[in-house]
């Protein structure tokens, strides 16, 4: 049975005002190939640097092999890194680079020679041992970086976008080589990338991140087939996301049509997001389907045709087929029940409130919030009047639970429900209920502080609301 090698507990990291990682929890098993996947700026490289020892968390604990390593210097960790753009030593040749770590261990010349040549053989670079670094191609440099990192036989290898600088064909070849090497060496890999294809191809486990939080952890198949949030669905592969309603168990309604699906456990008529992958949609004759539309545009992509169909509601669906269809043709669309993915909408706390001044809004006597309107599309704001009645919305993930002293207000935890990646914590604040989505463990009956960043408080005019409803 494999055991836990790396454990990250409640990791927070801020650079000045900016919070890069928010209450991050993750454990990694021995011999696992874990990929941290996310767009740039999601905190994945920062996380890797903290495991490597080049950054330290603002708060939280990092355990390696059961020991707390927060304050262990990088040179004292049994962890090696393959750096982005390789970071090879330009003053040493290939042999010198690979031998670098061994020379520090003061091993005998013969031993170093033998182990370096073994490592070079593993990356197919034996003949290049005396070459200077600046005469190597990108792929060769990548291999030297690999050899340099694995020669110390670390328990854990960190790889920071190691293939990002290479062309597509080489990248694919090296993906297989890396995966093979991981299997044969029996080393745990933590691999950072923003390339979803790379993540799906190589990993045992994919951790999808955005804005310093984990959105989903799972096998590549799980992540692809059953994305848990809109972001994951969009980020991993192409997909069409539509608003839907769970009519009852196994029936989801979108585009005004009831579809069979495999989902249960939603409340009746709950609003949901429906995710459909382009390869799961089938084009059929108009009379065989209730979802009809016109072929609007298409592109040929080698092995498939990508066809965009505008259905009667005006929404565009993307379909991948091997067969070509003429533009302007009216067609029907069908989908197998198991290919429909249904996702919960993100939780929202909605209240009615009264504006106190340009910075504060009052929801109840105990809930007075600071707000800051965030400019979205460059349009000027309409200032709210004092005493104006407004609708206040706060995403449950933006409700932060903290020490009572530093909080905006406090409340008592009434209930906790386990969701996929986090808990929904129901808190009562003097008669009003607020829900917080958090990965930290809390207990029913506790008193907790609550605070909400001013820019996360969404305020809208009640009148506008009615018009748009």
């Amino acid at each position: 049975m494999s055991k836990i090698l790396v454990e990250l507990k409640n990791i927070c990291k801020s650079f000045g005002e900016q919070e890069v990682l928010h209450d991050f929890n993750l454990y990694i098993m021995e011999n696992e190939f874990v990929t941290l996947l996310g767009p740039s700026g999601c905190g994945k490289t920062t996380l890797l640097r903290m495991i490597g020892g080049f950054d330290s968390p603002t708060s939280g604990e990092i355990y390696f092999d059961g020991k707390l390593i927060n304050d262990v210097e990088p040179n004292k960790r049994q962890i090696n890194t393959v750096f982005q753009r390789y970071a090879l030593f330009p003053h040493l040749n290939v042999f010198g680079n690979v031998a670098f770590g061994l020379k520090l261990l003061k091993l005998s010349k013969e031993e170093i020679e033998k182990r370096v040549m073994d490592a070079l053989r593993q990356v197919h670079l034996e003949e290049y041992r005396d070459r200077k670094i600046d005469t190597l191609s990108g792929g060769q440099m990548q291999r030297v970086a690999m050899a340099r990192a694995i020669i110390l036989k670390p328990k854990l290898l960190l790889l920071d976008e190691p293939l990002a600088a290479l062309d597509r064909k080489l990248r694919q070849d090296l993906q297989y080589e890396l995966k093979d090497m991981q299997r044969s060496l029996g080393i745990t890999f933590i691999y950072v990338t923003h390339d979803q294809e790379e993540a799906l191809t190589m990993s045992d486990t994919v951790v999808v991140m955005n804005e310093g939080r984990i959105l989903q952890i799972g096998t590549p198949e799980m992540i692809y087939n059953e994305p848990k949030t809109r972001f994951v669905a969009n980020f991993i592969g192409e997909s069409t996301i539509v608003d839907g309603q769970m009519v009852k168990d196994y029936i989801v309604k979108f585009e005004g049509v009831n579809f069979k699906c495999t989902y249960t456990g939603f409340s009746k008529n709950e609003e949901v997001d429906v995710v459909i992958r382009p390869e799961d949609l089938l084009i059929v004759d108009e009379k065989d389907s209730k979802l009809n539309g016109v072929i609007d545009s298409k592109t040929f992509q080698g092995s498939i045709h990508e066809i965009n169909i505008i259905v009667d509601s005006g929404k565009e669906y993307t379909v991948h087929t091997t067969k070509d269809y003429p533009l302007g043709l009216r067609v029907g669309l069908t989908i197998d029940p198991e290919n429909i993915t249904v996702m919960k909408k993100p939780g929202i706390n909605t209240y009615s409130g009264v504006i106190i001044d340009s910075k504060t809004v009052k929801i109840s006597d105990d809930m007075v919030l600071e707000y800051e309107r965030v400019q979205e599309d460059g349009l000027p704001f309409e200032e709210f009047d004092e005493g104006e009645e407004v609708v206040v919305r706060i995403l449950t993930q933006d409700v932060l639970l903290d020490d009572i002293e530093e909080s905006d207000f406090e409340g008592v935890i009434k209930d906790i429900k386990k969701r996929d990646m986090y808990y929904d914590v129901y808190i009562e604040v003097n008669g009003k209920e607020i829900i917080s989505s958090t990965s930290k463990i809390h207990h029913v009956g506790e008193t907790t502080g609550i605070w909400i960043k001013p820019e996360k408080v969404m305020i809208s005019n009640e009148r506008e609301e009615e018009e748009s409803e």
Binding site: G52, G53, F54, E73, P74, N75, I79, N80, T81, F83, Q84, R85, A87, L88, F89, P90, H91, F100, G101, L104, L105, R148, A149, L152
Partner: protein
């Protein structure tokens, strides 16, 4: 674009930019090439521009420099003294300057700007003024005596040439990718190991430039010993300077100068060996 087209394009570019380098070429011809030729001419003849000088090819001058009593008692000891003082100055500059350069790469932008200003601003002030102010400092410290002159010369020269050691080393250090240094820690280096196995070897180009930029000028300064030791500590620079004061010493002085030029050329070749792109020379 293929190679031929590229070459053609480069050629065209050269044609359009060529006229603009003519002033510089003229400058070099008049003030570098011509004087060098004159030096060679003077070294090989008895003619020295004095009113009744006679012209004939001779090796007497060379005999004088390499064989005479004057040469062995005055000139060569001065050469050795100059080399030793320059070596001291260079070593001091390196020992003081390298840590400063290293520290500068780790400073924030504002602190670095201020330090850079401290390094560069004195260079804008006339060199002779700076030397004289050093003498004043030594006077205040009650060090302005015969037995301290060599030490005083070394201190003031070190202060004068320190920026020329720091700047090339800093230029090289600043270009080192921090990831490479992190890689050294990652592979097990302590701070000291990282410095000696990665940072120092990678900054070798800067060190060599720094050494040459301090060693060669300090080898030929005459104004420092002139002002600090009232011309009692004789260096190569002083010997050359005195030969070209008035008349009569041009031929031997030329040989002194040519020897220094040879030193410079050797230094330049050394730089090119270490730093092929010549990027540290700036």
């Amino acid at each position: 674009m293929n190679d031929v087209a590229l070459a053609k394009r480069a050629n065209r570019k050269l044609k359009t930019t060529k006229p603009f380098i003519i002033p510089y070429l003229v400058w070099i011809a008049i003030f570098l090439v011509l004087p060098s030729l004159i030096l060679i001419f003077l070294a090989l003849t008895s003619y020295d521009f004095s009113p009744n000088a006679e012209f004939s090819f001779t090796i007497e001058n060379w005999k004088y420099v390499f064989g005479s009593e004057y040469a062995s008692n005055v000139f060569w000891p001065a050469v050795i003294r100059s080399v030793l003082i320059s070596l001291c100055v260079t070593l001091l500059c390196l020992i003081i300057g390298y840590p400063v350069a290293l520290f500068m790469t780790k400073m924030n932008r504002i602190a670095r700007g201020i330090l850079m200003a401290f390094l560069i601003l004195p260079l804008w002030c006339n060199q002779v003024l700076r030397i004289v102010s050093w003498r004043t400092i030594f006077e205040i410290l009650n060090l302005n005596y015969n037995e301290f002159y060599i030490m005083n010369i070394i201190i003031s020269m070190t202060a004068m040439y320190l920026p020329f050691m720091i700047l090339p080393i800093y230029t090289v250090l600043e270009k080192i990718d921090n990831k490479v240094i992190e890689a050294s820690y990652d592979l097990g280096c302590s701070n000291a190991q990282s410095l000696f196995r990665v940072v120092l070897p990678m900054s070798l180009g800067g060190i060599v430039s720094g050494i040459i930029m301090t060693f060669l000028p300090s080898l030929t300064t005459f104004e420092v010993s002139d002002a600090i030791s009232y011309n009692t500590v004789i260096l190569v620079g002083n010997m050359i300077y005195s030969r070209f004061q008035g008349t009569g010493g041009y031929n031997v002085g030329s040989i002194f100068s040519l020897l220094v030029v040879m030193f410079t050329i050797v230094g330049f070749v050394l730089i090119l060996k270490v730093d092929k792109e010549g990027e540290t020379l700036i």
